[in-house]
Symmetry: C2
Subunit: 389 residues, 2 copies
């Protein structure tokens, strides 16, 4: 486990205004409200929630959500699964294809470890060769423990997954017929639909997802194999999968922190009112006529889904953040009442995309009592930071 370094920007008990910059800060009150909203939402719709830990990468936060009712975690990488298992998480789904034998050997070992602790490991497949390789690795490892296998269908993302319908049937049957592999259902995730700006666009995309998943289930069950679960969804569309009667599990992860990209999109009225809970604290290090420069660039926050916005806590209302490179942001006044911040001024940014932003940091600074007057309650390790393999 990573030790907390002395040079970290904050220590427990520090006042928020004294946190050094740039720093990744979690508003714990907002985060806990988001967690409660998600728990209530899932209970109301009688679906499981298995939050995607590729977002927070923290065993501490995964266990906190389990206490609130979540069913384990999703991850994308074997190394993420290992990091979270080492932190005490027992129920893990790898929502991705794994085809390299060294990784599959680690999958077999982890499946046995989790089974011995009363947990389970699942992963996705979309090709007969993937199933054969997994079977070979499981046989080589030789444990009695099995592994749950989800057949991934491509429901519109155009990435991994077999085509929905007939093509999925032989894969499901192959899994069910292979020793140590348990057919656990269908993985059906439409990533692009999460980020569609209009509610109509998202609703129509997920209606098609639901039809494709239900049809595929029907064909597999007609072949004599029960489909125990259809799992998928994300923060942008969870309203639709939850109400579908077809999805049994929601994989949404971003709801915990939210980000500027999700906030830019039109909100479905039925969607829980998730709040921003993840911020980059930054300081103005240079002032000029017409702009100011802060110390957070794209080594502090990811910009794949757009630039961060400036949170409106400052008296300098209406600041536009422009990209200033790896280590700088450039702040321009935006609107007639906008006023440039002074040298040394602290500001708060809402990252454009929470997942890869968290992955830039080894630690998150958890604050209680708000960003204006609060204090540091705990330092949260990003256990799976940089876990790529």
């Amino acid at each position: 486990m990573k030790p907390i370094p002395e040079a970290l920007a904050a220590t427990v008990g520090l006042r928020v205004d004294l946190i050094d910059t740039p720093a990744l800060v979690v508003d714990l009150d907002a985060m806990e409200r988001n967690m409660q909203r998600m728990a209530d939402f899932a209970r109301k719709h009688q679906v499981r929630w298995r939050p995607h830990a590729k977002m927070h990468k923290s065993a501490e936060l995964a266990l906190l959500m389990q206490q609130a009712g979540a069913q384990g975690v999703c991850v994308q990488k074997v190394s993420e699964a290992e990091a979270l298992a080492a932190g005490g998480v027992n129920d893990i789904t790898i929502t991705n294809q794994v085809v390299a034998m060294p990784k599959l050997q680690r999958v077999a070992r982890l499946a046995a470890q989790l089974a011995a602790r009363g947990g389970r490991l699942a992963l996705a497949v979309d090709h007969p060769e993937g199933i054969e390789r997994l079977a070979e690795a499981m046989a080589q490892y030789g444990s009695d423990a099995g592994v749950d296998v989800l057949v991934e269908i491509d429901v519109g993302q155009g990435r991994c997954g077999v085509a929905p319908g007939e093509a999925a049937v032989p894969l499901a049957l192959a899994v069910a017929g292979t020793p140590r592999l348990r057919f656990a259902g269908l993985q059906a995730y439409h990533g692009r639909a999460q980020h569609m700006a209009s509610t109509v666009g998202r609703r129509e995309a997920i209606a098609a997802v639901v039809r494709a998943a239900a049809h595929t289930r029907q064909l597999i069950e007609a072949a004599g194999l029960p489909v125990p679960l259809i799992t998928g969804s994300g923060t942008g569309t969870l309203v639709h999968e939850a109400a579908s009667g077809v999805f049994g599990e929601l994989q949404a992860g971003s709801f915990l922190f939210m980000d500027a990209d999700y906030a830019r999109n039109e909100r479905e009225p039925a969607q829980p009112a998730f709040e921003h809970a993840l911020f980059v604290k930054t300081q103005v290090i240079s002032v000029r006529d017409g702009h100011a420069v802060c110390d957070a660039g794209h080594k502090s926050h990811a910009i794949d889904s757009g630039l961060p916005t400036v949170a409106l806590l400052a008296p300098e209302r209406g600041l536009r953040y422009a990209n200033g490179g790896d280590e700088h942001g450039i702040l321009y006044p935006d609107g007639p009442k906008a006023r440039l911040p002074a040298l040394g001024r602290m500001l708060w940014l809402v990252p454009g995309h929470c997942d890869p932003t968290v992955n830039l940091h080894d630690f998150m600074i958890g604050v209680r009592g708000g960003l204006a007057m609060g204090m540091v309650e705990r330092i949260i390790r990003v256990d799976a930071r940089g876990a790529l393999t």
Copy 2:
């Protein structure tokens, strides 16, 4: 110092084809040729080279370049300076403004540490308040060691720096008149010019930089203060600063690894023929009609300066990499002879931008003997990964 984890994608002596994916791989032969080209270039132009370590963030590589003739390193952050100093680098320039008192206290401590080892620390200023705060921190620390101070002028980047000309004179005089601060010259870096596509555009931009820097020096020297150094430049424009007779030091860093963004731009004939030396090794994990999916997304490589290109080592010539999200890349055939790679196939990507790509990884895997037949010679620690403060 970070221990090398067991789960790392490679160990010393491993054959290149067995490196697990995704992995950040350095072609050591190409890197050493780049280093030698830079050393020869600087010697020919009688300028110092102080490579920017914000790119590689590794004390090992900094010391290797010093052995080849480099004069210490540049960094952007105090924490980067601390990490490299801990790894044995003694001559460090922070090419950035530092205004927070906790950071300036660390600057004072580091300046004393480096001086005691026969080295020195420098940093940039662009505001009277920055000079006062630095002076206060140095006085509080109370060491006899001084710190070198560069006055930064904005030569076209539109970011930090005072306007060139008259405005820089009082700052230089203020530095020179402050105990423990040594006026060390001018910092004049035009970051945007590095990435202009045409040689003409870059040449004209740097001609203006050189005029502005020379004029500012003239004014400061007319006020009775010698200007010992003008420092700046980057990999895109170093030909021009080196030939200017005005710049005494080149800060270029990317030449060591190069990236797809620099490769896309028209090359100045006088520029040394730097080669790509940094690659992301990736594996095909899913195949479909019309596309394949690999396991490297923008958690493996930065995309701020464009997507990676697929290195032409594969029999599948002409593959276009499209963004598949945090953990995936999507490969499309590009051209009539292109052929999609098979499931499990290993491919090599050239990242769009080397600096933030390195910052995603804790280790680089150094390979000797080429990417096709070579083997792992050493694991290079990214000592200052995530060093933001």
